[in-house]
């Protein structure tokens, strides 16, 4: 029995290390509250995830050097056009060493129609370390993580997840709103 417990601890330790390279990385699961953060956008504004409260959010971590990320971006443009009026907000977070100008040029070339934020390692850590890109989190209208998508999946899978998130209800209780107010900087 003790051996089994020790083995489970070993497995848990290594899983935690893989997720973020640090044991401190939070373990986000379905229906976890999406950690709030504050990041600068390409146009110099400071944006918080909680600014999109009440909307279904697809939070996409990407980088200019990531080929699969580039494939997804036109899909996101289409999905933002198609579902934006129903309350979808796609948010890109560039986990990149490239300059803000280069990220901006890349996003412009891709015709991006949703906000791109300049990522920070601390925000990646809040989301489990983001060990591989692309990595997206589908967040319900009440701010909970509904789905986590690592790597390139089909557009239909992403669209299905977005539809489910759009069908959720916004948070109504003050407690739920306050829960999201711890902002990472």
């Amino acid at each position: 029995m003790a051996f089994v417990v020790a083995l489970m601890l070993y497995v848990g330790y290594h899983q935690a290390r893989r997720q973020g390279g640090a044991l401190a990385a939070p373990r986000l699961t379905q229906s976890s509250l999406a950690p709030d953060f504050s990041l600068e956008s390409l146009d110099g504004k400071t944006m918080r995830l909680s600014d999109f409260r009440g909307k279904a959010v697809l939070l996409n971590f990407w980088a200019t050097w990531c080929g699969p990320c580039k494939v997804e971006m036109p899909w996101f443009v289409d999905l933002q056009n198609q579902y934006g009026s129903q309350g979808l907000q796609i948010v890109g977070v560039a986990m990149d060493d490239a300059s803000k100008e280069d990220i901006g040029k890349f996003a412009k070339d891709m015709g991006v129609n949703y906000p791109i934020l300049i990522g920070k390692e601390s925000v990646g850590d809040q989301y489990g370390g983001v060990p591989a890109l692309p990595e997206s989190f589908v967040i319900t209208r009440d701010g909970k993580i509904m789905d986590k998508i690592i790597g390139l999946r089909g557009k239909a899978d992403i669209e299905d997840a977005i539809k489910k998130a759009l069908n959720t209800r916004p948070a109504t209780s003050q407690a739920s709103i306050e829960e999201r107010s711890s902002v990472a900087r």
């Binding site: 497995v11 899983q15 050097w65 990531c66 080929g67 699969p68 890349f106 060990p131 890109l133 790597g151």
Partner: protein
């Protein structure tokens, strides 16, 4: 129970997108004459299922594989020769060819000890920077330490032509 745990562990390793690590094969001691250029092969291996960009990727946004050496004073680094990348397309972008390395590849560096170098063994250090992807995801750039040892020897004595023994001299 144990089998179940082991299976869960293996499954989690795949689904969490573990970043791959290149390996660098140890280089046998290199003997280099002073004032001469000696070529050194550095052999690397990309784990199966992954690829890295070549030194000349086809987009300005892709991160090239690049070796940076930090050599002792009086040992000059000559040209670094990278292999030509393999043109390959991947499921994430079937219509686009990328220039990549996969499997084993070799980078050749030229070391040139100056005339002033004291004969002996010298440790050469450097780092290889690379950025890997698999068929569905990419991993942040990583660096791999690279090192090899060079034994610098005196140049052989200058050859003194003896016309009497030279087969090329005809009287």
């Amino acid at each position: 129970m144990l089998i179940f745990l082991a299976a869960a562990h293996l499954l989690s390793a795949q689904t969490l997108g573990k970043a791959p690590s290149l390996t660098f094969a140890a280089v046998p001691l290199v003997t280099a004459e002073r004032a001469q250029q000696t070529m050194v092969n550095l052999n690397f291996r990309v784990p199966p299922g992954y690829h890295i960009n070549s030194n000349t990727p086809k987009s300005e946004f892709l991160i090239p594989t690049a070796l940076k050496m930090d050599l002792p004073t009086d040992i000059v680094l000559g040209k670094i020769e990278y292999p030509v990348g393999e043109d390959a397309s991947f499921p994430f972008s079937p219509d686009e060819k990328l220039s990549v390395y996969s499997g084993d590849f070799t980078i050749t560096v030229a070391v040139h000890p100056m005339q002033s170098v004291v004969p002996g063994k010298y440790e050469m250090h450097g780092v290889l920077r690379y950025q890997a992807c698999d068929n569905a995801a990419c991993f942040p750039p990583k660096t791999l330490p690279v090192s090899f040892e060079v034994k610098v020897v005196k140049e052989p004595p200058a050859h003194k032509a003896n016309p009497a023994q030279s087969p090329h001299v005809h009287n």
